[in-house]
Symmetry: D2
Subunit: 105 residues, 4 copies
């Protein structure tokens, strides 16, 4: 895992421990929290056209970016709880995708 | 953004361009794809107890890690499309959370 | 479809027409709105134990019931837009499930 | 609750009891199962335009209708477990919506 991602993950763990939240942070519960944040992202786009979703105003873009941060936060929390290296797993999954979805010449 | 995350994001963009998928990768569509992957993660845990979700067998842990990679992949794709720096936004959001959820002494 | 469900569905259509919302109520957009409501339901339960989720206090039970109403509302809206008879389709799907998940003797 | 909806709900309960699934059907777990089905609906639409989502081919329409049945099934299971009358709650919620979203003259 990259040092900067590792640093964020460690800080998130410390944040949870300080608040005595580790007891709630089971992978099951965290997956629910993650999808709830994903839905807040979806909500921003639900009544927009594809084009409008590409041209958000500053304020909405800021809100959208925070929803994405929340998704990333829960993704890192689950990774930490399950001892998964998110970065190397992603690189591995991308290699699989390369062979699954061949480029048409 | 960390160099390694930037590299993954660039590779994902190239992957999409090569397959002529950029036309489908609007933030709206990508948010739908992201939540569909988040739901595949949830599905792994839906009938498990909290304890079982913490003690996955190797094979299921592998599958779970790939679902998480898929979520991360779409998160990076949306970030790229909206020109959001996911890492710095996450650090910013964590600072907000520090002030929103105070530690009880 | 049962008369009472048909009545609700018709009222929902009229509600949307009066507000000029029909233009937004494509199946694609409605599926996003539905999952956003489903996530609000999930949010109520994410930090609860299984037992706590079975013993909600009156106020939370009321909120939960309204989230479920919202899900049902969007389900009926999509059914109407796609000309699907939700009741008979459900009965059909249950018959399929009977053969897919056999009872162990 | 309408008689036909009540009949479906009762049959679903019997289906679960016969398979000894009641132990897994807590509101928490069922909310996860419901959102997983909602995501399967979303998946059908994620790469489609709004117009394409309105003009599904027969086979895809059939699949979509079954995803919707699955959502309805879990909605009824949660209603039953929490002793919620989904129909009357929906009518109540629609009355609230009438006052929340006023018609512009």
């Amino acid at each position: 895992m990259s040092d900067s991602v590792k640093k964020i993950s460690d800080d998130l763990k410390e944040f949870a421990i300080k608040r005595d939240w580790e007891q709630f942070h089971t992978p099951k519960n965290l997956s629910m929290a993650l999808i709830a944040e994903a839905a807040e992202l979806v909500e921003h786009f639900q009544w927009l056209t594809a084009e409008q979703s590409q041209a958000l105003k500053d304020e909405q873009l800021k809100e959208v970016s925070y929803e994405m941060a929340d998704i990333f936060i829960y993704l890192l929390r689950i990774s930490e709880q399950l001892d998964i290296d998110l970065m190397s797993t992603t690189i591995e999954k991308m290699a699989i995708n390369e062979t699954r979805f061949l480029v048409k010449k």
